[in-house]
Symmetry: C2
């Protein structure tokens, strides 16, 4: 009878698949393997004690509320806290501009539900966050990829892409996943200006923004857009009336296991998302929302973020130094100012997906870069390396193994420079 | 600029709406009002102490795991626990047949994502669970309603509906929301036989099955279907290969604020749902999953369910007695054997949506029945009454107020029996 089900969902799930990544990463579940493949925060930094105190207090003082159904838009004090927190980054939202989501992954799904009809085209960075493609493939989206370089989205290539009429553009300005790149300030202004000129809204995904190790914080697109709206007199009804949906999360600052993210948008958009969210899961766990609020309400988050920044910044440096030391000539990589990932390129003729099994024999793993492209034939010579989750000595050792594997592979497979035979004169 | 967004989602959200219910129920947020409108479990029964102990222990012993990302299919020991629990109800599933969802609302959304294309028709009970309609409206489903009576879905009306080719049928066999009705055993066999004859799968939603106050437990459709598959030799690969997706939840037995439900289905279906769930929210909170497991793993759930049954059973009886005492002639209601709700009918000419404001003046509230119909012009003389969430003396008093309101309304509005004038002979 299972065939009956299959006939019912066949056309849908072809597009949802990407199971090749799951299959590839199954190899990597070995105890002595050093994995740069995951996207996990460092578990030793999780605030478990703070969480325990908060859970005890919460259940003593507000147990019945924490375990009951709640509002679809989220726990009001947490929404207020998020507003206060975001105002430091120049985002002046009211709680009505905020909906709590079950991780920012759910926000991506809600955006798909609200905005994407089959065949709609979404402008994406190339490469981009795999989870966004997964969420939107289910709505049968098509993509208009625009490349990134070391300064993020190549805005000089943006206009032709905008002219072809995407429903919205999806941008990760800070320490992009997977690229590790940061969108330069002048390009941020370009993105916002072009968005307004062409009437194409922006979905700004900012999971890592608070985790900057080096350099100065840059204003988020949603803040630049709000300024622009005010300047040209389009914004008569308050600050959050603009062209940007902004996504934030506690996954990288508190803990991903709580599944807590948020969306900031004009009230009209939030109202629609709240309606959609009722059908999606009624609301995000009251318990985890109140627990997070209990953890952060007295100013704990700033100190904790400082700690995370310090540790990840050190690990990034270890990885950069090791890449310099161990990676063979012909390879290059980004130097992220924050976040969890960097992006490495090997020579064009190499295929990182094919090489993953070799890497696993060397007891090291990564994510083959093609996974982050809408067209899996692209990015074949790239890989994403996570530096947040392994200890420094493991990072050093893992990059050493990876470098060795690459050298070996090059030695075994390097295309020989074949002497072109002199053409026989006719 | 918000108009820009509006133009982008307009066609979608017309169908997601149903905000009329939210608007109606806004009236009911008054401290001295007795509300039968919610669908809330009794908060005084929440196992807050047990939850507190479990949270402390969990964070001491497995804090890093509980706060980290987890598998999309859910926490394995919890899936095993669910299998053990369900086997008592004749459902012999393996953990591979189970995916943990963020409440069973998310399972409904996942089903929509997997199975519903715009214009697909879903066979539903009439009335049915509002949240399912909300979830599936977003996928632009159409509906084929089949009425229920005191024995649940009217299976004698099922065949013509199945012949018109629904994608699947959606059935709540136990203490239906909103009807409070239970599908009779012979009808369960009919539903399963017809499902197999016409090749139309079943989505069986069973949030209240464990909360039976009176009568004998009846086998779930998924168990009857598995038996039938085995009998006719269709099931060669184990028990869970059938025609039914079964949905369960901890919302009514532990606490809704945790947002924990589950889906049981053939492995092939589960694999697809897990893929979809990655795009929806990556996974349900590791923390709440491990917390629930920590709460129930030593056999606490049975005792706790016994307590809930006892309390809700008493409240149901108080409501039934009060209805008998205070509701005017011409009204009728169901006598649920379990669950949280009963369903009342007033005379045909009355409109419960129109009357809600009157009821609020009498300091009592309910959900107008039309909300549970795919066609809001139907069920206008019905209402859903929740008996789980108010104390017995409040239930008695609330029904007294509601009866008084109905009497008053009848006296003010009863269509006069107009004497038909004798026709003048020609």
């Amino acid at each position: 009878m299972a065939t009956l089900w299959k006939s019912r969902y066949a056309q849908r799930t072809q597009r949802m698949g990407r199971s090749i990544i799951r299959e590839l990463l199954k190899f990597t579940a070995q105890p002595d393997l050093i994995s740069f493949a995951g996207g996990l925060p460092a578990p030793e930094l999780f605030p478990t004690e703070r969480c325990q105190e908060a859970a005890c207090r919460l259940l003593s003082e507000h147990g019945a509320q924490a375990l009951q159904y709640g509002a679809s838009e989220g726990f009001p004090p947490l929404r207020q806290f998020i507003c206060d927190q975001m105002s430091r980054y120049g985002i002046y939202a009211q709680p009505d501009n905020v909906v709590i989501t079950s991780g920012s992954q759910q926000a991506l799904d809600a955006i798909g539900k609200l905005l994407i009809n089959p065949g709609d085209r979404i402008l994406i960075e190339e490469p981009t966050y795999l989870g966004a493609l997964q969420a939107w493939n289910a709505y049968q989206a098509d993509y208009i990829p625009v490349p990134i370089d070391d300064d993020g989205l190549c805005t000089d290539k943006l206009e032709p892409a905008l002219r072809s009429g995407p429903k919205f553009m999806y941008v990760l300005p800070n320490f992009q996943n997977p690229g590790g790149t940061t969108l330069a300030l002048s390009r941020r202004h370009d993105v916002v200006a072009l968005s307004n000129r062409y009437g194409i809204p922006i979905v700004e995904d900012d999971p890592y923004g608070a985790l900057r190790f080096t350099g100065e914080h840059l204003p988020p697109l949603v803040a630049l857009d709000a300024n622009l709206q005010a300047t040209v007199g389009l914004n008569g009804h308050g600050y959050m009336e603009g062209n940007v949906i902004y996504l934030g999360t506690f996954s990288k600052t508190l803990a991903p296991g709580l599944r807590l993210g948020w969306m900031v948008a004009p009230v009209e958009v939030i109202d629609q998302v709240v309606m959609a969210k009722q059908g999606m899961d009624l609301h995000t766990s009251t318990f985890t929302q109140m627990l997070a609020y209990e953890m952060v309400k007295d100013g704990f988050l700033d100190d904790h973020i400082r700690l995370i920044r310090k540790v990840y910044g050190e690990r990034r440096q270890v990885m950069l130094d090791a890449l310099q030391r161990y990676f063979p000539e012909g390879c290059s990589w980004t130097r992220p100012d924050g976040g969890l990932f960097l992006w490495a390129r090997v020579p064009d003729w190499m295929d990182t997906a094919d090489m993953l099994q070799e890497a696993v024999r060397f007891k090291v793993a990564y994510v083959p870069g093609f996974a982050f492209y809408s067209d899996p034939n692209r990015g074949r010579n790239t890989m994403r390396l996570n530096f947040s989750c392994e200890q420094p000595e493991k990072i050093e050792e893992g990059i050493r193994r990876l470098g060795k594997m690459l050298e070996q592979h090059m030695a075994d497979h390097l295309p020989k420079v074949v002497a072109v035979p002199a053409t026989v004169p006719g």
